[in-house]
Amino acid sequence: MSHILLRHRDIPDIKELSVYRANGGFKAFQKAVTTMQPGDVVNEVKASGLRGRGGAGFPTGVKWSFLPGNLWPHYVVANADESEPGTFKDREILENNPYQFLEGLMIAAYAVGAQEAYVYLRGEFESIYRQLNACIARLEEAHLLGDQLFGTDVRLRIYTHLGAGAYICGEETALLESLEGKLGQPRLRPPFPAVAGLFNKPTVINNVETLTNLPPILEKGADWYKSLGTEKSPGVKIFCLSGCVQKPGNYELPLGTTFRELIYTWGGGLAEGRRIKGIMAAGASSNIIPADDRALDTPMDYESVQQNLGAPLGSASVIILDDSVNMAWLVAKTTHFFKHESCGKCTPCREGTFWMAHITERMMGGKASPEDIDLLKNVALQMQGKCLCALGEFSTMAVVSGIKHFRPDFEAAVRGGGKAK
């Protein structure tokens, strides 16, 4: 089957505007602008069952419909702050199939009546930023962006903004703060961005992959889209496979594909002689799932992973851990990451990640005592349910699940110092 999102794998040079257009590019946008009311677009996307690919899996069309019709202007912001460890799907889209993403963003803007759309890129995406700016310039030249699009009264401009390198700016309200030029810290909710978002105006924030789904949905219809994936999680998803597998990379597969199929059919399995030990399904913001048969046979959709394994599918950044990995080492890595990326706004996350990082460093440095394992767990539990945003809560997941399922690894780390990898 040909790709729906990673179309550059089938069509070389689709990142050229002429090639993208020769392959049906901007037909969907034209169709929306010239033949559909904004509300029709919203309904079509609702009917497709498309869910947000940034991690939360919230139905996209429903999210759009929250924007109040009596408060203007509306804004659409593309979240291209792809920062979750083990996640590299948006980057591939932006680098190789940028026009499909931009067309998706334009469709979203039309659907919610926004005349200005923003792309917020993580600070490290500088080359993508330049390429995207060039793409936008070409779209303006081609009169696909600007005033009176396709001879209608529809206007649209797209602006790009490069962040300064902060994981927290992937959180949508911190992203808005950063986009407004402020320190990237999450806002209180309510009010939600749908009511008071960018510059205090109603705002939709969608992930790059989510938006890239829109042109094919409008082109081929909601029914076609719903025929892919599962009933509650329709469509395809780009699974970012990394860690201890033979063929890491992005795999565009229907939602509901099992872990086993991803790892063994597509990912080439593990290295010779290695046994699978654990799976992190949502990058660093993930429980460490013991990789038993039950886990491997779980379909990767938003419901099943949560129901079967008690973990969110998130952005589907599947990190495979084999039996050479000491989970205490892994937890030290994730903890260090969250300590480094905590914005510092709320006490439990600022202090808790700092504290946990000290304990895990002690463990890996051979300076810990066995009691430190429970202390680490207690600090993580003490953070849970108290943080201002999800980052703080995420930082505890690997810690708590790691100690729960792989306690001997921690005991070994305490005994053996930093030796255990």
Binding site: A166, I168, L183, G184, L188, K339, H340, E341, S342, C343, G344, K345, C346, T347, P348, R350, E351, G352, T353, F354, W355, H358, L375, Q382, G385, K386, C387, L388
Partner: protein, 827 residues
């Protein structure tokens, strides 16, 4: 009246206005929910997580939209799985809040533990120790033991100057952002912010000089730990060693309620001294804020240069004598002479009344030493329960000829807040000021045309008026209340009188006189000029206005210090008495110099510009041998055979109240009355600041409206008409950090003190050869002076602004030839 909501907190049913935050609803009902980042004067941010409580809400059946009921018929309550921050959650009908169960107590303990992980716990050497929210809440909710390894604590800079006034201890900071939010949201000086992120999040300032804000000291009060301290007080004393004394700020006419904390200490030779000034809550005056001038300006009261003994002139020299000798000399020399008295606006109401009494008894006259006119304010000013804090939508505020941010920062703040609540702000000034940002109408006029601009607005026929004046007049037509502030920018006494009269006319024509929250407020240059005007003392810029001959008696007035040419008026007097804290230039010309107590060593009252009569109490014991001004005046009177009340300030006020209708019914007991104020601050919890703001000593009372004054026949304008060729119109303005005798001794502010500068438009400067930073010579007849040139594009052409009290011997506009001072060695 807003809608009321009933909820249950810890099993108690409470009813509060809708949109009240849970934390406030609890506080209103005597339940303390601990907080660090939340502050009732600022929007909640939910950062510290200390205020977590358990919250349940009635379950609603989605199908029927009706509450789900328990078997016993009560509504079924659904509790959130997570605790919620009570500072960000508004109340809702039927809500159930639990603030004391195990889950909540555990969360508090855990949050405290998190906060303390890297906190230095250096309470024994911390200024906040003893009045510290973190310390108190740790004692109440914290764990006895820390599980965080001491060696892993983060070590950070402990002595970081955020400018020379405020110091930051980075280790103690708990990142609550109260200081940052105060600077951004409350006072709009966004000079503080966070830098970096996570545990490396730290406060920084990016202004030059550092922490450039007239309100910076307030951050040290609201800081819930000892991270921010003032250079004035840090390491000065421990809170429990000090005693509080209720007082008022004597730096400007706002009348901010203060508390001085005092200590007897070896380092001051065993004397009791003031260690710091703190705001005292008065929601109708200063809320819980004071400006830095008020906070750091008290040093003059304990300056070593203060006079301690009377001086009399013998053989041309002033020599120390006893009070008995001084009074004896006065009795000899001043008997049967009329007293011509010049009284300063720093005197108390009782002092001014005594001086007026002596003048009347002796057949002389008492004058108020001021370049501002205020005779209309007793009638047109505020009265009854006026409160600037109640101005909002539908009301109007007019600020004329005043850079309020420089002249009275707390009034600037109150006006800003009124504008933010929806009041229409009209700003009239020849150049832009800090208030412009909040103004609905900005009216520009030429210096000298103040009263014409006001008259244009007041008169029905607006044909000649500009568009802005017409728009402002339109706004005033529909305004419910009108409060007018008038200052002295570009004005001397003559112009001030014209402006005052024009503004009174504006109030009169608009029908605002007598309305509850309307009236005329003079932005005086002294704390108690209002009392002088209430007593009917006529203003005098200097001694030229006083009749020649007789006894000249100066109290808290130094005309010769302001302008050396005033010395001429000292000769030809029978006798000159100067009563002051210091040996002023005028005192040096006197026959008798009488020292007095500073206002911090006695009691008295000030009448604020809002006509609020307020008491101040002695913070320190009276210096041996010295007396308060009114008592001294009464002694002088007695030595001459006149009877004045000199026994106690309270008796002097009672006597005044019996004869002066505006003061009727007021006495010291009434002024000491307090009522509950919201927000509640300064309780034993100290959550809303490390310091105590509690006002237990009186909120003061408004004076009642005085009789209508007679207007002058013709409107008055400033004298300068035609500025000669080659000359500039020089107009005065007021800077907050001046060099007045009651502020200059606060050396801490030297770096920020205004300098003797002429602000001038580059186009006006260029033909005169005046360059940025160069020295200019101003050829004022009889008193030439030099000043530094500052090029400023906001200054109208042909005009230069000079600051008052910085050595320019004028307080009114004048014209003079201004030329560069050439380096003599070069020519």
């Amino acid at each position: 009246m807003s809608k009321m909501v009933t909820l249950s907190i810890d099993g108690r049913s409470v009813t509060v206005p809708e949109n009240t935050l849970v934390v406030d609803a609890a506080k209103m009902n005597g339940i303390d929910i601990p907080v660090f980042c939340y502050h009732p004067k600022m929007k909640p941010v939910g950062m510290c997580r200390m205020c977590l409580v358990e919250i349940g809400r009635p379950m609603i059946d989605r199908a029927t939209n009706q509450p789900v009921l328990e078997d016993n018929g009560s509504p079924k309550i659904q509790f959130s799985p997570k605790l919620e921050t009570s500072c960000t959650t508004p109340v809702s009908e039927g809500m159930v809040v639990l603030t004391r169960n195990d889950k909540v107590e555990a969360a508090r303990k855990e949050i405290i533990e998190f906060i303390l992980t890297s906190h230095p716990l250096d309470c024994p050497i911390c200024d906040k120790g003893g009045e510290c929210p973190l310390q108190n809440l740790t004692m109440r909710f914290g764990s006895k033991e820390g599980r965080f390894l001491f060696d892993e604590k983060m070590h950070l800079a402990k002595h970081v100057p955020l400018g020379e006034l405020i110091w930051l201890d980075r280790e103690r900071c708990i990142q609550c952002a109260r200081c940052v939010r105060f600077q951004h949201d409350v006072v709009d000086d966004p000079v503080l912010d966070f830098h970096n992120r996570g545990r490396s999040l730290e406060i920084m300032t990016f202004s030059e000089p550092g922490f450039g804000s007239y309100f910076s000291g307030n951050t040290t009060d609201i800081c819930p730990v000892g991270a921010l301290t003032t250079a004035d007080f840090r390491f000065g004393a421990r809170p429990w060693e000090m005693k509080p004394a209720a007082s008022l700020c004597a730096q400007c006419p706002v009348g901010c309620n203060l508390e001085y904390t005092v200590r007897r200490e070896a380092k001051s030779g065993g004397a009791t001294v003031i260690k710091r000034a703190l705001p005292r809550q008065n929601e109708s005056v200063n809320e819980i804020w004071i400006c830095d001038k008020g906070r750091f300006g008290y040093h003059y009261t304990q300056d070593p240069a203060r006079l301690g003994q009377p001086l009399v002139r013998r053989d041309g020299e002033l020599v120390p004598v006893t009070f008995e000798e001084a009074l004896k000399i006065i009795a000899e020399k001043a008997a049967h002479q009329p007293f011509q008295i010049l009284a300063g606006g720093k005197l108390s109401t009782e002092d001014l009344a005594a001086l007026r009494g002596l003048a009347q008894e002796s057949g002389g006259k008492a004058w108020l030493h001021t370049y501002m006119s205020g005779g209309f304010t007793p009638h047109y000013g505020l009265s009854a329960d006026a409160n600037l804090g109640a101005l909002g939508q539908g009301d109007a505020v007019l600020v004329a000829a005043s850079d309020l941010h420089e002249e009275a920062p707390i009034w600037w703040l109150r006006v800003k807040q009124a504008a933010e609540r929806g009041a229409a702000l009209i700003v009239m000034n020849p150049r832009p000021t800090r208030l412009k940002k909040y103004a609905r109408h900005v009216i520009r006029y030429a210096y000298g045309e103040e009263s014409l601009a006001v008259a244009a607005m007041a008169e029905e026929n607006l044909a000649l008026a500009g568009e802005e004046i017409r728009a402002a007049a339109e706004t005033l037509k529909s305004a419910r209340n009108l409060v007018i502030f008038y200052g002295s920018e570009g004005l001397g006494l003559t112009g001030s009188k014209g402006l005052e009269q024009a503004l009174a006319d504006l109030l009169e024509r608009g029908g605002f006189t007598g309305r509850e929250n309307s009236g005329l407020i003079g932005v005086w240059h002294a704390p108690n000029l209002q009392a002088g005007f209430e007593l009917g003392l006529p203003p005098a810029e200097g001694l030229a206005d006083l009749p020649a001959g007789g006894v000249l008696y100066l109290a808290a007035a130094d005309p010769a210090g302001d302008d050396p040419r005033q010395a001429a008026y000292f000769s030809g007097r029978e006798f000159v008495i100067v009563q002051d804290l210091f040996l002023t230039e005028s005192a040096k010309l006197a026959d008798v110099v009488l020292p007095v107590l500073a206002y911090t060593e006695r009691e008295g009252t000030f009448v604020s510009g809002e006509r609020r009569l307020q008491r101040y109490y002695p913070a320190l014991a009276a210096r041996p041998g010295l007396k308060a001004d009114f008592a001294l005046t009464a002694l002088i009177a007695k030595s001459l055979g006149y009877e004045l009340e000199g026994r106690a300030a309270s008796l002097a006020l009672e006597k005044l109240a019996a004869s002066q209708p505006a003061f009727e019914g007021l006495n010291y007991l009434k002024l000491a009355e307090v009522h509950e104020q919201w927000p509640q601050v300064g309780g034993s919890d100290l959550y809303y600041g490390g310091t105590s703001y509690a006002n237990r000593q009186g909120l003061g009372k408004h004076l009642s409206r005085a009789a209508k004054p007679e207007p002058d026949a013709a409107p008055l304008r400033e004298g300068i008409r035609d500025v000669p060729k080659n000359a500039l119109r020089l107009v005065p303005h007021t800077r907050l950090y001046d060099a007045g005798s009651t502020f200059a001794p606060s050396r801490l502010l030297d770096q920020r003190r205004a300098r003797r500068q002429l602000r001038i438009h580059p186009r006006s400067a260029e033909p005169l050869g005046l360059q940025q930073g160069s020295q200019a010579l101003i050829e004022l007849e009889g008193a030439p002076f030099t000043a530094e040139i500052v090029l400023d594009e906001t200054i109208p052409g042909g005009t230069a602004l000079y600051p008052r009290s910085l050595g320019v011997p004028m307080n009114a506009p004048f014209h003079a030839v201004v030329k560069p001072v050439f380096d003599k060695s070069a020519s």
